[in-house]
Amino acid sequence: MNNDSLLLVFIIGLALFLRIWDIGWNGFNGDESIYSGQAASLLGNEEFTSNFAVFRAHPLLLQSLVSIAFTLFGIQDTTARIVPVIFGMLTVFVTYLVAKQLFNKKIGLICSLVLALMPFHIVFSRQVIVDVPLSFFVVLFLYFITRYRETGTSFYCYLTGVSCGLCFISKEVGIITLPIFFVYTFLTHSLKLNKIHNLFLGFVSAVFPYFFLILTRQDASNAFYQYAMFQLERYGHGLSFKYYSILINEAFGYVLFILCIASAFVIWIESRKPNSKSYRDQVLLLGLTLGAFFLFYQLLPSTGDRFMVTLIAPGIILGCSILVTNTVKHMRLYNFGYIIIVPLIIFSTNLFLSKVFPIEDLRISDGLGTPWKREASLWIKNNTPANAGILTDNMPFANIIRFYSHHDVYAVTLSPNPSYLQVDNPAFLFLNNNISIVVQDLDPLRESKSTRELVKYLQFSDPKLVYTAYRHTLEDGKEIAVPMIRVYKVN
């Protein structure tokens, strides 16, 4: 085994360690609860089937793989997280392959090391969310399209199609890889119409299980139709420039973001010079992928930073590619650049800057999961009757309680999401004695109109505080316990 291979093994091991270490410290967030609940429902587990419909917004690739993990190791949050950790680790490996293919081995190693250490990627590849397998298959797509561009063979065209299909059945937005393929191959004059059928064959063979279920099961086709209508009827959130800047900085960090722009610019300029090696096609591919996904997400009425997970690997490859430019190569201490680039990118992320400057480490990150929500949910499971009706203020928290306690849970907020049990008037639940437990989320970062609504509903009866979950923190050198969740018994 040569040094590069050893280094690669070390990097992958490091990626695995950072992603799996203390993976159970926090409980699920709302989305993790849903996907894991679906995975448990896939196994036919009755504690979950009543609360977690199998067919919802997204295809079931991740959920199927998580259900395999549940079968092997039992239904627990730590077990479910093994799947995204493996995907995260494999993303690091394939990023090496892509960067090596596009540029050289050194860049490959640098990119894989940056990705292995990237806080944003570490945080999200420890979560059971569909964006993690999507980010892996997008990088796989980049690899196969590069190989296809190089070899022009039907085999790699087929594999590109397969990776497009796998992107799609991870999360529907993965379909964007198909137009990326066509635009890239058209612009680089590598589009071969006589081989295109391989692309579609690969795509179809990958998406087969998804459409097979829609065509053969009433519940699957209902879900497909209802979610399609739900998504089409949602409106965009009118995001601002400030939001985008926070989003990009949170995901990439300041240095990587600047490097991406600089790299694309320098490579493009250099490609116009005669007698200089052109990396224009590589930049084109990476730029197309980043731009297409980013723009597509802005058309969708979704907010949040998790979709940036898909863009991290291509962004790192683009940013690190500055090291192959002649402009940088001719600089003094050029070799030093290979060493300094990794800490420069990592330490310019919010996680580290927040230790020095007054900014939050993850400002937008919606729902990392908390230990106290899991604690409260487990307390409810162990201390309330099985048929106790529970009311909380928001749907994500309701899903967390459902997963851990297996109770029916209502939420004050009314989401038009077709999967949620629509409760027109929570007040009636009190009047009809359907509610015996009220769970209040006291997290000041999460306070919303629905939190205040919940307080109003508490006044319908005489609540008795039965449990409080705390966050332990240091203030002026002393450890203090801050109440984060309160559980009330009513009626």
Binding site: A39, S41, L42, L43, G44, T49, S50, A53, V54, F55, R56, L60, L61, Q63, S64, S67, I68, T153, F155, Y158, L159, V162, S205, A206, F208, P209, F212, L213, R217, Q218, D219, N222, A223, Q226, P418, S419, L421, Q422, V423, D424, N425, A427, F428, L431, N432, K456, Q459, F460
Partner: protein
């Protein structure tokens, strides 16, 4: 000797006639008390109650829930058997230039619109009795003026429709005037608005109102409360900010009430309504006002009716149901279309405002009854006075009718009827058998991997 003979006769007569006389006297006395002079006999034992039935009127708690503004046709224009929207109705967009007008028919509206009508709006809508100026009166509305012709139905306001179909729907209940919200709101609390007819809003210095229903209740030592949504927040507002909210709740703008601790103590936040019911501390007269979830044109009607239904259901589930009456009504029609020409208000000698929805809910309310008597909010106050035997000197009720006619106290109190809780499960929540779904994904992936491996080795062997 002759005297003796007379005495004997007299003695003989007394001994035989006296029992007869006594019996006759007793009989006449009893007859007079059993059959009163000038009695009015009811043709049928199911007739409407009158004020003479006061001794048998079991109503001890009256709840008046006032929202605003929707017209009768807007809410119940398609209610079965009601005097609702006429067929083939259409209204010109400009009744003063018919040749350039388009014609708008009533239609089912699925959203609310923002609009605050003023005095001019009502007069324009009325258009000297033509009742065709509604669209024109709203021509400056930011969205489409033609939305005034919209109506809701049982899918939008199922609770209101359920109450109306189960109890009494008054289809001749008019808002007291075509003047401002403030004037109509003053009527609603029994205040004589004549001194304030030119007022559009409560002045910053407040109102000086001499007599209201609440004063009469105080005088007669009858318990009362006014529940106001978000009252705690309103109480803490600066007077200048608070005044803007008070056109619909004028009691809070009356200086006497604000300066008197004892009177102020009758005003509570809305959740106290539920606590008072639970604590068996529910007053005799209750007014309920909303601020956030008011039924005004720019608030979601579905949300508003849910809140109202919660109030009604809370009472239904309590021990107060058997001697209560709830009146749901609107302060004013909000600029929405109504086809009925308003008559003259006997009290003010001016035209009534347009019809507003009014539902009377009570175990004694006539079942599934559409009441055709002419009422306004002073009729409700008259009902309060008669039910609770209040010696009132309010001028607004002097000539008012009484909604007592919509009740039948000869029957036993009916049990409450609830609309089925609208909590629908979608077909997505429960899937059919889920066994095998993950197998489909797993097997498909395995097959895919096998194809790839097979193809890879085939390609390699070709080389």
């Amino acid at each position: 000797m002759q005297f003796y003979k007379q005495a004997k006769f007299a003695n003989y007569n007394c001994s035989s006639i006296t029992p007869l006389l006594v019996f006759l006297i007793i009989f006449l006395f009893l007859l007079q008390n059993i059959v009163p002079a000038n009695s009015t006999s009811n043709a049928s034992h199911l007739s409407q109650s009158t004020e003479e039935d006061i001794k048998t009127n079991p109503i001890e708690h009256i709840i008046v829930i006032i929202q605003g503004g929707h017209s009768f046709d807007n809410y119940f224009g398609t209610f079965p058997y009601a005097d609702g929207i006429p067929t083939d109705l259409k209204i010109p967009s400009n009744p003063f230039a018919l040749e350039n007008s388009t014609y708008i028919k009533p239609f089912h509206i699925e959203f609310t619109r923002y609009f605050k009508p003023n005095d001019d709006n009502y007069q324009l809508s009325y258009n000297n009795g033509s009742m065709n100026g509604f669209v024109y009166a709203s021509r400056n509305v930011p969205n489409n003026a033609q939305n005034v012709m919209g109506f809701y139905n049982n899918k939008d306001i199922p609770y209101y429709w359920q109450f109306a179909s189960e109890y009494v729907l008054a289809q001749r209940f008019f808002s007291p005037s075509m003047r401002s919200d403030l004037i109509n709101s003053l009527y609603a609390i029994g205040a004589d608005p004549l001194p304030y007819l030119n007022l559009k809003n409560i002045p910053e210095k407040g109102l000086e109102v001499n007599k209201t229903l609440f004063d009469e209740l105080e005088k007669n030592r009858i318990s009362w409360k006014v529940y106001i949504e978000n009252y705690s927040a309103i109480k803490n507002m600066y007077p200048k900010e608070r005044i803007k909210l008070l056109d619909n709740i004028p009691a809070l703008g009356i200086n006497r009430f604000n300066d008197n601790q004892s009177l102020q103590s009758h005003f509570e936040d809305l959740p106290v309504y539920y606590r008072d019911i639970r604590a068996n501390n529910f007053p005799a007269v209750n007014y309920v006002y909303f601020t956030n979830t008011n039924d005004s044109p720019n608030t979601k009607v579905k949300q508003a009716q849910r809140v109202v239904a919660t109030l009604v259901y809370a009472l239904m589930k309590s021990s107060y149901w058997n001697n209560s009456a709830i009146i749901l009504t609107q302060n004013e029609p909000g600029g929405w279309y109504d086809h009925v020409i308003p008559p003259i208000n006997n009290n003010t000698k001016e035209l009534y405002g347009f019809r507003v929805p009014a539902i009377f809910i009570s175990p004694f309310a006539r079942e599934s009854y559409i009441d055709n008597h002419t009422y306004d909010i002073s009729s409700v106050i008259r009902f309060i006075e008669s039910s609770l035997e209040i010696n009132s000197s309010l001028t607004v009720t002097k000539n008012a009718s009484n909604i007592l006619q919509a009740f039948d106290f000869t029957l036993s109190p009916r049990k409450p009827v609830y609309l089925e809780e609208i909590s629908r499960e979608t077909s997505l929540v429960k899937s059919n058998s889920t066994v095998g779904i993950n197998k489909i994904y797993t097997i498909s992936l395995l097959i895919l991997v096998m194809i790839i491996i097979f193809w890879y080795y085939k390609t390699r062997s070709r080389r």
